[in-house]
């Protein structure tokens, strides 16, 4: 009996702490564990007894890479509990803020975390020596996403301007228009990014996934919509827990989320793209097709192209929102706390992020449930690894290790949010 182990103790270029363990016995994969050893931070526990208005500032701290997503899911859930819906300028500003986060986060992943895998560099700084123009383009593009978040939120990490009911302060039209010039450059840079990413080498690896994403009647989804899948799921956000369940596995500090009916599922850019292609702008659709993506894409390695397409979408959407912007009369709607349960689900850059809060009539939180995208993808990441390793047993130890890491980075896992770091270990028996 021959056993072999591939072991990466500390997976790089992901957010948070995790490990991968793969065991190969007699030329077959016998065990795969994607382990998250990020220490738990207990957000759901200490949200109990806090006031609803504190939730956006507190939940933002779950993840420094996508704080807006946490703020958006929490404010929508609270407003759901109070029976309030935001319209007009305030709704537009929230969408605009999400555009900023998508640009900044997608570009960070595309250029600094994922592209080095395809080109064989340990990191983007080494990649910059041979591909200076690409890395510079990435850094500038990312900065424009950050500029947008900073203008609307005050700073790029853990913005201070988001509140339940709207914002503390709404920006002037003129301030936004200044950014529009930069966003036009960003739109071109995003187009160039799609073309560039399409030239990378992709392993042949397609699976029959169940993709889950929000779907909105008119828009490419950010904050609102029904939860749908390519295998028949079509539910309101408030029914989430009737269809999804979390399991606690011994090998991981993050809970694994499953579809009660069918098990593993896939959230994130690839899922959104496949379920909402028709809601992309014509330019984004065209760019995606000419990059060879097809109307549907089942190869997770190509998520880097999809992220680039969504970056283009976010630039275009931001420009549209700025052109139509009218400063709202008040930065927030007035709210009356009432007892009840509120549900919120928004599209974080990495996929759907579900929040549920139970509140009393003074607006104090009695309990909270938060399901981040990485928990939801964890099972799918493990099944990808199982299949990928099975199909590539001929690779050298080093190559296989690197490609396993890459297969995980396809998902841009944010382990800080699933609770936070990754570790890879492959045993060959």
């Amino acid at each position: 009996m021959k056993t072999k182990t591939i072991k990466v103790d500390y997976l790089a270029r992901v957010e948070g702490e995790g490990a991968l363990f793969v065991k190969i016995k007699d030329n077959a994969v016998s065990e795969v564990k994607f382990r998250i050893f990020e220490p738990p931070r207990f957000f759901e526990a200490f949200l109990r007894g806090r006031h609803y208005s504190e939730a956006p500032d507190i939940t933002a701290r779950i993840c420094g890479i996508c704080p807006i997503a946490y703020q958006m899911s929490s404010v929508h859930a609270m407003e759901d509990a109070f029976g309030v819906t935001l319209n007009g300028g305030l709704r537009a500003l929230r969408r605009l803020l999400y555009c900023g986060e998508w640009i900044e986060s997608h570009v960070l992943h595309v250029y600094l975390l994922h592209a080095p895998d395809f080109l064989g560099y340990e990191d983007a700084i080494q990649m910059a020596k041979d591909h200076p123009a690409a890395v510079q383009r990435g850094l500038q593009l990312k900065k424009i996403g950050n500029d947008l978040v900073t203008l609307l939120g005050g700073r790029e990490i853990h913005p201070i301007n988001v509140r339940v009911g709207g914002f503390y302060k709404a920006p002037e039209r003129a301030e936004l228009e200044k950014l529009a010039e930069k966003l036009k450059w960003a739109r071109d840079a995003a187009l160039a990014t799609i073309e560039w990413s399409a030239t990378l080498d992709y392993p042949d690896f397609e699976q029959d996934y169940e993709f889950v994403a929000l779907r909105h009647p008119e828009e490419y989804p950010f904050n609102e919509g029904r939860l749908v899948s390519n295998k028949g799921l079509d539910i309101a956000v408030r029914d989430y827990e009737n269809h999804f369940v979390e399991e606690h596995m011994q090998h991981s500090n993050a809970l694994h989320s499953l579809l009660r009916a069918r098990g593993a599922y896939f959230v994130g850019p690839l899922a959104r793209y496949n379920l909402n292609f028709d809601r992309l702008t014509p330019l984004a659709q065209e760019a995606a097709l000419s990059a060879g993506l097809g109307r549907e894409c089942r190869n997770p390695f190509k998520s880097i192209i999809v992220r680039s397409v969504e970056t283009l979408y976010a630039c275009e959407e931001a420009l549209r929102l700025i052109a139509a912007y009218e400063k709202p009369a008040s930065p927030a709607v007035s709210l009356h706390a009432r007892a009840g349960i509120g549900y919120g689900c928004t599209e974080a850059p990495r996929g759907i992020l579900y929040h549920r809060y139970r509140l009393d009539d003074r607006g104090m939180i009695h309990d909270a449930k938060i399901v981040p995208p990485t928990s939801q993808n964890q099972k799918t990441i493990e099944s990808d690894l199982r299949r990928f390793v099975a199909g590539h047993l001929d690779l050298s130890h080093e190559q296989l290790t690197w490609q396993c890491e890459q297969a995980i980075r396809n998902y841009d896992p944010c382990i800080s949010c699933a609770t936070h770091f990754l570790k890879l270990e492959v045993v060959r028996e």
Binding site: L11, A12, R13, V14, E15, G16, E17, E38, P39, P40, R41, F42, E44, A45, F46, R50, D57, R61, C63, G64, I65, P67, L108, L112, L113, E122, D123, A124, I125, Q126, A128, V135, Q136, L139, Q140, K142, K143, N146, G154, R155, E156, I157, H158, I160, N161, R163, Y168, K169, E246, E247, H248, M249, Q250, N253, L255, C414, S416, C417, H420, F421
Partner: protein
């Protein structure tokens, strides 16, 4: 010839100071600040050798390191040991952010029974290994400099890196957010709008962001040097903030920083006494 050049380049690379970034319990936001220095990033990368920075690179260059940046707080027995190893391989050790300097938001457990927290979040509590408290790095090892903020200010980070590597004292003021408000000519939100604000007891560094956005400061940069928390609490109480409200105000991202911890405990004590 080609060989000689590579060797020469290699020796230049080796003479650059080695920078390492370490993560403990945190949200990754403070280390991300380094990647958010889009304009300075390649310059920083040119001036130092990034020897260990898992969020950005697979490369791991062996220590010792000239400068270690440490993010996050200590929450597990394993991390309590790991920080000593980090200290041993680091010439200078700088902690970044509220997690590393004050235990972070996860230090809210310090006021409760952590077993109850585990039971709330996890179905099988026995799988979880964690300490009762979340503590700052300086409780475990000697720290050369502490940079406050949740998240830290990236310009202050660049200043601290360059100061430490050039053997000078970082220029990071310990006065209050109020001074930054004055400098920015923001009208005081507490005086003019009656909005409770923690600015008077909070260390500057953010540029007085919240008041500029019409809201009170919630102290994400932690206590300033010698804060008068008691007098601020009296003012808040006059404005109608309850004792529980005061406990919550001081129990934020820097809840376990001494000045804030004491103040929140004083109000909690009054609640229990009442």
């Amino acid at each position: 010839m080609a060989d000689a050049i590579t060797k020469k380049q290699a020796s230049v690379a080796r003479s650059k100071p080695k920078l390492a970034v370490w993560k403990f319990s945190s949200c990754d936001g403070c280390q991300l600040s380094l990647l958010d220095c889009e304009e300075e990033l390649l310059a920083v990368a040119g001036a130092v050798e990034i020897a260990n920075f898992p969020e950005a690179s697979r490369t791991v260059v062996k220590g010792p390191y000239d400068l270690s940046l440490v993010e996050g707080s200590i929450t597990t027995p394993h991390d309590a040991e790991r920080i000593h190893q980090v200290r041993r391989v680091s010439k200078h050790l700088v902690t970044i952010g509220a997690c590393a300097t004050a235990g972070g938001i996860q230090a809210l457990r310090n006021f409760k029974d952590v077993r109850e927290f585990i039971a709330v979040v996890y179905a099988t509590p026995s799988y979880i290994e964690t300490l009762n408290k979340s503590t700052p790095i300086a409780d475990h090892v000697f720290v050369d400099f502490e940079l406050r903020g949740c998240p830290i200010n990236k310009l202050q980070l660049v200043e601290v890196i360059s100061a430490i590597l050039n053997h000078r004292k970082p220029n990071v003021p310990r006065y209050s957010v109020c001074l930054e408000c004055k400098r920015r000519a923001t009208v005081c939100v507490m005086v003019a709008q009656g909005v409770p604000c923690l600015g008077p007891v909070t260390q500057a560094g953010c540029g007085a962001l919240c008041p500029a956005y019409d809201r009170g400061c919630y102290a994400c940069f932690g206590p300033k040097e010698t804060p008068n928390t008691e007098s601020l609490s009296t003012r808040w109480a006059q404005m109608g903030v309850s004792q529980t409200g005061l406990v919550r105000a001081f129990r934020g991202f820097n809840a376990y920083a001494e000045a804030f911890r004491k103040e929140s405990e004083a109000h909690e004590g009054r609640l229990a006494g009442a």
